[in-house]
């Protein structure tokens, strides 16, 4: 179990973390969410002992995290390995640094490449690979030594759908193996796909934390999605006729219906059945993670709306802030 208690971190005058506390249960996939600059990557870097916290503590099973480096596999947000060294050479090197016996390190690296379906790149140099394949290799490096805890910081940024799917499969395997996977992202759809528990960080603090399903259930359950065969107009008319239907908005093949009260679900179902509308589906419409996020952390980054553009946007924003010669312009 990972416990973060009262974590504070300042960078000059900027407060990156402001008393963040959260708990990551063992063996779950945990989503670390937040807007750009919320403190996700700072939290991860403190956990990885890349830099120290100003206050607070990070514990893994009661032990300070910096004492347990071998238990964690890390895929950093800023991807990078040696561009001019072969993949096998680098992976063998990093395997040895992670404490794997030198005699076994090369074989472990080869096995991990095979697991990631990347054997063909064994003797290739990193800079000859596409971005997606580089990402695969980076993930393979993070999984060397089969760590109990895997931290993935924006793992799918910059990937096309096919490569993203390959990586998702690899991540899902880790989840299925019962590893603790901490998944930091601002791409809600992917977090929702993988994660059991989540925390939303805003301005260095946790604004909501817990099991995703429980969080969704905690919201009013007065919205339902109704689909019907045939003429949608008939269904719409039937819905409009009910006084407790506040709103019926087209959604996909049906309607998203907002009721005055969650208790009206069953009466509505009975009424629609009696009205003879050929119902196809009737289910409670839980809020999406994006909706929860917007409510808790304000408007999301426009990049969330388009997975393809999401990865370019932060870089573009960063580039806009740079001066003529690539230096950061003064604020």
């Amino acid at each position: 179990m990972i416990e973060i208690r009262g974590l504070r971190k300042n960078f000059g005058e900027k407060r990156a973390l402001d008393g963040l506390s959260l708990t990551v249960r063992e063996g779950v996939a945990f989503g670390l969410l937040g807007r750009n600059g919320a403190g996700k990557t700072t939290t991860i870097r403190i956990l990885m002992n890349i830099f120290r916290e100003d206050a607070g503590e990070v514990l893994i099973d009661g032990v300070p995290a910096w004492k347990e480096p071998k238990r964690i596999g890390y895929l950093p947000e800023e991807r990078g390995l040696y561009p001019k060294r072969t993949i096998l050479e680098q992976m063998t090197y990093l395997a040895k640094l992670k404490g794997i016996e030198p005699k076994r390190a090369e074989q472990v690296a080869k096995d991990k490449l095979a697991e990631m379906d990347a054997t063909e790149y064994t003797n290739s140099k990193l800079d000859t690979l596409s971005k997606g394949n580089q990402q695969k290799i980076q993930l393979a490096v993070a999984l060397l030594g089969d760590p109990e805890i895997v931290i993935l910081d924006e793992p799918f940024s910059g990937l096309d759908p096919i490569n993203a799917q390959i990586l998702k499969d690899a991540v899902r395997r880790q989840v299925d193996l019962g590893k603790t996977v901490i998944f930091s992202s601002h791409q809600m759809a992917q977090v929702e796909e993988f994660c059991d528990d989540i925390v939303i960080i805003d301005r260095g603090r946790a604004v909501i934390e817990g099991n995703l399903a429980d969080i969704k259930k905690s919201y009013p359950r007065n919205k339902v999605l109704i689909t019907a065969e045939g003429d949608a107009a008939a269904l719409k008319a039937a819905l409009d006729a009910q006084p407790y239907v506040k709103e019926a908005v087209p959604k996909g093949d049906g309607f998203a219906v907002t009721l005055a009260d969650a208790g009206q679900r069953t009466p509505l179902l009975r009424t629609l059945d009696e009205s003879g509308v050929p119902l196809d589906g009737f289910s409670v419409l839980e809020p999406t993670l994006e909706q929860i996020f917007i409510e808790k952390a304000g408007e999301p980054d426009p990049a969330d709306a388009d997975a393809g553009a999401a990865d370019a946007a932060p870089e573009a924003a960063g580039k806009k802030r740079r001066g003529l010669f690539g230096r950061r312009a003064k604020p």
């Binding site: 990885m48 002992n49 890349i50 830099f51 120290r52 100003d54 480096p69 964690i72 890390y74 950093p76 800023e78 991807r79 990078g80 390995l81 040696y82 561009p83 001019k84 060294r85 050479e89 090197y93 990093l94 040895k96 640094l97 992670k98 030198p102 490096v141 230096r327 950061r328």
Partner: protein, 427 residues
Amino acid sequence: MKKILTVLAFEYKGFTGSKTFRTVTIILAALLLIACFLPQIIAGFKSVGVGADMPERTKGVVLLGGDAAADPSVAALFTPDALAQAAAGVAWTDGAGEGLTEADLKARVEDDTYNIALYYEGGTGFDFIAKGNSMFNYSYIDFLSAIVKQAAQQAAIEGLPQDAQEEAAEIAAMEAVPNVVAIGGDAESNYWVGYLIMMLLFYMIMMYGQFVSTSVVTEKTSKAMELLITAARPIDLMVGKVVGVGLAGLTQFAALVCAAAVGIALNMPYWKRSGSVFYDLFASSNLSGGLVAFLLVFFFLGFFLYAFFLAALSSTVSRQEEAATIITLPMLLLSAALGLGFLTLLGILPKAVAAVVSYVPFFTPWVMISRFTVGDATPLGAAIGAVVLAAGMALIAWLAAKIYRVGVMMYGTRPSLKQIFKLLKRA
């Protein structure tokens, strides 16, 4: 220790395994090997054969005129055999026997018939003719001066009354007899060895220190640093990197030394006879095992001190262009150190100043080598210097590891010294 060796091996293989490194090493070794054949090539152009007919290194011609030519006792001092006995390695020819005049001497030196020429008419003055004004001419001038002085004294004594001549001859023959008690280094014999080691160390740091800087910045540019910091302690990464890269540089250097050694061994007869003063100087060096060990200790400690310093500075930047700027400081220190070393070797730097400066780690290798070479440092003093240097190197290595660790987050504009200190304090 295991991780240090892992990093060391990785860095070492990274450099020595690269095509560029191997190609450059081979080319440089080949060029050096060819350069060692130069005396043979030059001899070939001068149509000089090998073996018994090979000429001596320097060809000289002596011509007497005026009173000197007329005085048999003076002339006896300037025969080719007499001059050869005074200075081995010069083949003298009697200019009068060749029918030369004073005017011919310049022309004969100009066209390389002779390397040096002496014209003496009597008294204490003489003409020494040579091409250019090489610093090595002074060795010939010195011994010729002694012979001319002897000739002048002899001629003056002959002009005295008979009963005074014997006493005058005794007075003229009086020489100071120094009893040289050399403490520590033998400055005269080992001057060139000390000079060579200082220059080698300077160039080694200039060339291979860049390797270290490049390696650190490459890790930052490629963002590999963040991953490495999570896998190993910064001190392991730093020591492994600097030693590994440093060894790669030393490997290249060793390959060049081997190439030079093979080249010189194959051409030894030509190097011995081609006027190579260097051969004489090194052949006469009084190198003991202790002195060699001393030189090597300071060489390696000095090299790695600067290598760690360069690594520390390179950790604060994230682009190769910035690295080229930031290593200006160590390069300036390096130049100052070499300058101080030379001044100490030449005896220009006051001894008290040299003594103090020789315990400043950035200057210790050069100044201590010089002090030891000229016999100004005791073995104990040198040992203390080595300890100070080793401690300085260890401190710089520790600091470099700290900066390397906080440097992982230094991207973009180069941080100021104040910012670096703040980050170090917090680290």
